[in-house]
Symmetry: C2
Subunit: 640 residues, 2 copies
């Protein structure tokens, strides 16, 4: 056994032991040391860099480490094997891309608009915003020597009288506190109930003098980003909102790498812990702190996420999702409770999961479809969710078809050297002067915020403007020179949007040919998926009445530029609508409204799934779409 | 802070810290050091002896410690306060009375007879031995690219087809293992189900090639002793049987002291841990080991116990039980599961609790009443449960009345210097020669087992024989002399049944005047309760048709002697029937048979409770009964 020491920039260390030949990245994961490895350790991404401080490693050298860097001790952890006692420095990986948890400022109307819109739209469609949770006040006669009825029977009798219902269920958590609460309150209590036509479940009991708000939690578990809102289940009010990087990201950037990681010994637990203990629970605590809300008073949770994410969240074998015939463990599940999987809310809280419709179209899309309202109109609409996977739903009130394509994390700033989510410091819009090649940009945050990186909408603008200015060619290669244009030693170009001295980070904010290439593949995947699905239905893009775009790409998305670079079809711009994180707003609706929850199950049951990889023309479409805007420029008449 | 070291006879030590003036017994309890203190620390019982090894203690001297013993360092922990660093020896308190866990030998027919009898009797009364648990084999078509239904939906569909029922509930524990089991079994599985008219709950799923037995656990939680059986829920077969001292005993011998202890900070958790983690869970593991049975395949548990014991078991505030108006938290509770309270069986196992009917008549009595069958006959019968509390039920198929009296633990060997439970080495029967005063006795266990102590039935015999031989007077005082008669320095007499050299323990097996006095009070409580209850109904003992005696007193109980000492009324001996631990056999029936469970709820609902302490004549009756056989000897004509 050799001793392996991971040292961090803040001076802390983690020590563990390993055998000769063990892989350093694996050891780090087992020791719960976060090392960024989007490719999941096959040497492809070059992100798992560590610096050798003492001892030695047997490292296979790759192009990701220059000779000089190698000289200075830099190694890829995934390519390194243990041969002796060793100490390595793990650089601070809390990049803007994987930015830390953020609790939203609810005074900003923009933060709340998507929930307000979503509520208004479903109400207009006749869906009532009503759920089965309720608070009732119950006054009982205190017991006497002549009336010695026990506490449980006394409360049950009082509730039955009140609600005229047969069966009352008092769970252990309530039984345990009941004698104390009844006596403190002199037998006048508030009960938090779930009532259905045949029974009543008592979630909680309080002294009637206490203010009680029924809390609910809606969570969107994205492959890259997790977002959540804490709500008042009676009014629908948003009490707190938060987002954070999905802690699973160190096990791989995409779902396939995570599934593979989950199948290693102890992997399911590690992946489940990463999303629950390291991501969701801290978000819950932060939101509850900011809203002064007790965790135990959150009585229901709704999760919307892709199929892999909800399987890993539940700690369930996800391997069959990636193996023919690609079978999920569940579409719907109705028997999961907070205590089952260690969510830090009321232990009896039901966990509702937005239904999956296939291995690659999950609850994020069914919840998002609910919000898109495309199911409520006779006109044909297209719903596009730009996540790490891109998913599309096309249809109307009569039919809906869905498909998924692997876009990668570029829309959320992943796989882009200066990419970040649409949070403070992100460049969300940009223009470039055709003559001087100087940029003007708009930054997320307070006036005066300095640029830190590029979010999805910013990247679209930069690429579109670079192309319009003739700085890059249709393949995304740099073809002009200037003070903002750079070339690395391999000749790969780059454009500096903000020099270090103007930027809010310690380096230039720039976009490189590699970034552009990654982004072109992402937008190509989306565009070719749209074309393939429509063709298979004998539809044409001209027949699309409305396009609803969702995802973390940023509300600043310039649809004209998105069309110009060939990401979206060339149809009138007024047809495009950005609807934000519809997975989260859909989860919010399902949480708040039982009819909305039922509607989502109904939509899921009626949605057809199309497997793109089985369509022979898809690959041709994709190759054609990997240009700016496309190899067939007649598809983009407005760009000319 | 001072350092307090508890040293044990096996050489181990426990170290903790305390403040000046802290009570040594309290410190021991907080440090989880078991020191016997039946009186719960008020100096009354003299059992919490420890020996000072180093340092000093500020101890109030009591009569329990002689001058010589004090000289040798002996102190009562409950009377000692911390004044300095100290080390004390904690003597091995694993006395025969609090004997260690024992797994029964099931080849002994006697062990199983009470369960066989109980089953036969209820079946004769028309109660079916059927519960809602079942195993079914389900064969599914494996998924294909053309049939991509998820696992949960596939199983649900197959079960619905099979059982023609609407709602199928698949809990998290099954969801989690389902993808693996389905694939290992090639989609042919065995399901453990609970089926009710409207739904089906899937407890577990196995490869169909596995042998699966549905396990159930019946537990009698006595104040002094806990007994349990592990059973096959399909056949009712007893797979293992075990008993152990209730780990709560170090917090007090009776229910009142335990309730007081539970109300101290952290007390509920300590009392709950003592009975679950320290007592029941180890019994489960031992039984499962002996039966080669997996804990997780125990899908239901039934607990019968007095009201205080089931409150403390559930970790619920029991204080209202002992305070006017004496209100339990529950009579019935139907929403407790193994995972709620940390019972080491299947996490979804339902915990059925035999119903209480009052603060002092609990589920042990309702379960025992079921077994006694007194509810099934027109004749009037009396059911007596001799536990730490004595409880009586009198009635027939038309009405039943119950009451409780505080008998103390004497019937199970508690409060008796050489008392023990009816296990190996216990003297269970005894005669004493009137001339020579020499005893002959019968010992529980293999032939040749040496005497260790006296169980309840042995104590009855010894007292009856001492009285018949004129060795003790009606007050229990020694009035003859001889080689087996002893007197201590206060003049208190004693009788040696087995001298050290004949005994299986390191000291004489004897009975003292203090023991006899304790026992007379216990039997007096029972007799006076019988008289008081019957008088209140205008009944007379002659109207009792049958008497069913239950409890851990031992199957060797000699009813003639029990009558002779004035414990039971003087009616024909053939009317008495010893039915063993009816709390356990009742729990067994409720576990095995849903109709028996329902019958018990019905019995409980129809049973009237009489509070003896509110009957003005009870105390007079008790005082009169604290003689051998009674101050009114006309009540015992056969004894003359």
């Amino acid at each position: 056994m050799f001793k392996v020491t991971f040292a961090f920039e803040d001076g802390s260390v983690v020590e563990t032991y390993a055998n000769e030949g063990d892989n350093l990245l694996e050891i780090a994961r087992e020791a719960n040391v976060a090392i960024d490895a989007p490719c999941s350790g096959n040497g492809a991404c070059g992100k798992c860099r560590v610096q050798l401080k003492c001892g030695e490693l047997n490292t296979k050298k790759t192009l990701h480490i220059s000779d000089e860097e190698f000289q200075n001790g830099w190694r890829l952890a995934c390519m390194s094997k243990i041969t002796a006692d060793v100490e390595v420095l793990v650089p601070d990986i809390a990049s803007a891309y994987k930015s830390r948890m953020k609790v939203a400022d609810l005074s900003s109307k923009e933060e709340l608009a998507i929930f307000e819109n979503a509520k208004r739209e479903v109400e207009l469609a006749g869906i009532e915003l009503k759920n089965s949770l309720d608070i009732v006040e119950v006054k009982m006669e205190p017991p006497t020597l002549d009336d010695t009825m026990p506490d449980v029977e006394r409360l049950t009798r009082a509730l039955r009288k009140f609600m005229n219902l047969k069966r009352v269920r008092i769970p252990y958590a309530v039984l345990r506190k009941l004698p104390d609460v009844l006596r403190e309150s002199n037998f006048t209590v508030k009960c938090v109930l779930r009532t259905t036509p045949d029974d009543m479940f008592v979630y909680d009991v309080f002294d009637s003098r206490e203010e009680v708000v029924i809390g609910g939690l809606a969570v969107d578990i994205g492959t890259t980003t997790v977002s959540a809102v804490l709500i008042n289940m009676e009014t629908g009010e948003i009490l707190a909102k938060s987002s954070a990087g999905n802690g699973q990201i160190r096990f791989g950037a995409d779902v396939i790498n995570r599934i593979i990681e989950a199948e290693k010994p102890g992997g399911r637990e590690r992946l489940q812990d990463a999303v629950i203990k390291e991501t969701i629970n801290p978000m819950i605590h932060e939101m509850c702190r900011s809203a002064h809300f007790p965790e135990k008073q959150i009585y229901r949770m709704c999760v919307a996420s892709n199929t892999t994410m909800n399987h890993l969240f539940a700690g369930i074998n996800a391997d069959p999702l990636r193996m023919e015939p690609y079978i999920p463990a569940f579409f719907k599940t109705n028997s999961m409770f907070a205590s089952d999987i260690g969510i830090d809310i009321n232990q009896d809280a039901h966990i509702i999961i937005a239904p999956n419709i296939g291995s690659y179209v999950g609850g994020d899309i069914t919840a998002g479809t609910l919000v898109s309202m495309i199911w409520n109109r006779p006109e044909f609409s297209l719903f596009i969710d730009l996540g790490t996977n891109g998913e599309l739903v096309f249809g109307n009130s009569d039919f809906m078809m869905s498909c998924a394509c692997s876009a990668g994390p570029a829309f959320e700033g992943g796989d882009i050297s200066c990419g970040m989510r649409a949070t403070d410091g992100a460049i969300e819009a940009c223009t470039i002067d055709k003559e001087t090649m100087e940029p003007s940009y708009k930054i997320v945050g307070e006036p005066g915020t300095k640029p830190v990186g590029l979010c999805g909408s910013g990247i679209i603008d930069v690429i579109s403007e670079l192309f319009s200015a003739g700085i890059i060619n249709p393949k995304g290669k740099f073809i002009r020179e200037g003070r903002r244009i750079r070339h690395d030693k391999y000749g790969m170009g780059g454009y500096v949007i903000a020099f270090e001295e103007e930027a809010g980070s310690s380096k230039d904010v720039e976009i490189t040919e590699v970034d552009i290439d990654n982004f072109i593949r992402a937008k190509g995947a989306i565009f070719s998926a749209i074309r393939t699905m429509l063709s298979s239905l004998d539809f044409d893009v001209s027949m699309i009445d409305d396009v609803y775009v969702a995802g973390g790409i940023g509300s600043g998305i310039n649809m004209r530029n998105a069309v110009r670079i060939g990401m979206f079809p060339d149809i009138p711009l007024e047809k495009f609508h950005y609807i934000g994180n519809s997975s989260l707003s859909g989860a919010y609706l399902m949480l708040l409204s039982t009819p909305a929850e039922k509607k989502t199950y109904e939509l899921a049951a009626n949605m057809t799934y199309m497997e793109l990889s089985t369509v022979p023309t898809y690959m041709d479409e994709f190759v054609g779409a990997c240009f700016i805007p496309h190899t067939d420029s007649s598809l983009f008449p407005s760009a000319e």
